[in-house]
Symmetry: C2
Subunit: 207 residues, 2 copies
């Protein structure tokens, strides 16, 4: 079982490597990759060693090879169909974001409980009524869902997604949702991110 922190760092290596590739860089050492992210070179080597042998002695890592390998590990070498639940303030902003598709995540359907929103589209993504959730998730082979509904509705929405056969949920509602252990979840609470910042600011002063 690979620790979550290692998998998280893998995404950051991937982001840096993809930028390096765009800038035409062919190889990079663990020390250089570490320095870009303020990790030690030992940390970089230890993290990658969980997944195999990637470096060439004297050369370092080949950027294109390492990008391919990490995308395979993170499973972003395949395309994922994603549903957006809640087409409000946040849902609308996320639907307009091109960064998801670049990494293989295609938001292809949105759902909302508000009758006035149903039947409209945001960009190319149609907003469907909630009573079509189960059937469209199955028909369109949607495996992941983003929850962007108010907190009181999040658990009930999650339960319906599980019944519909969703495999993973990215939850933005600031509540803990409980899921069977067959379904993966990642939670993002943006107020908590600011709390982490205020803690760091106050503790930096005394460090």
């Amino acid at each position: 079982q690979v620790p979550k922190a290692v998998v998280n760092r893998l995404s950051f290596y991937l982001r840096e490597l993809q930028r390096l590739l765009r800038d035409g860089k062919e190889t990079i050492s663990s020390r250089q990759l570490g320095r870009l992210l303020e990790f030690t070179d030992a940390q970089v080597r230890k993290d990658l060693a969980y997944f195999g042998h990637f470096g060439y002695p004297g050369i370092g890592y080949r950027c294109d090879e390492l990008v391919t390998a990490i995308r395979k590990i993170l499973a972003t070498d395949q395309s994922w169909n994603v549903a957006m639940i809640g087409a409000g303030n946040l849902g609308r902003a996320l639907l307009g974001y091109g960064g998801f598709e670049q990494q293989g995540f295609r938001v292809i359907a949105a759902f909302d409980a508000h009758p006035k929103k149903v039947g409209t589209s945001i960009g190319t993504v149609p907003i469907h009524p909630m009573d079509q959730l189960e059937s469209l998730i199955q028909q369109q082979e949607i495996k992941l869902a983003i929850i962007a509904v108010p907190a009181p509705a999040a658990q009930e929405v999650a339960d319906r997604l599980v019944v519909a056969g969703i495999e993973g949920i990215l939850n933005f509602a600031p509540v803990t949702i409980s899921l069977p252990n067959t379904v993966s979840q990642v939670g993002v609470d943006l107020a908590i991110e600011l709390e982490q910042l205020s803690f760091s600011v106050c503790n930096r002063k005394f460090a």
Copy 2:
């Protein structure tokens, strides 16, 4: 130096405790608090022990006391003035979010490079031109900033914020920004959050 993972869990304890208080619950045991978040009760006790003694033998924790204590530790018992840099898709959605103010973070000014956006407001928050960044950050005692500009502009915006005297930055642009060690930062990359989800979905199947 308290590990980051402990500080992160502290925010989740706070979120649960605030909900329990709203529901009228007066005390809670470490086992009950742990179960709500799927942590062990030993983890809860160990985390809180970094910051002091909070429980009463036989009773557990007093919810109101623990909320007050954690807010003091996270420094959300004080009010923070926050600037939003970039009033586009994401910036606009975040400006409409009430969850920040509930935790003591008041976004009081927005800035944007686009001449058509300057002089307008989102809700009660005015959008200022970038040439007023330094002066307004100082005049309005803004200590934190949220970066919601395109990736290529993020580092240059961060540099200006540092000169203006900002103490902490929450960065949504999917790039690593480099800051002097006098300024704290938290980065949120939403595509990376989806990558963590796809890894978890694929690895759950083999677990």
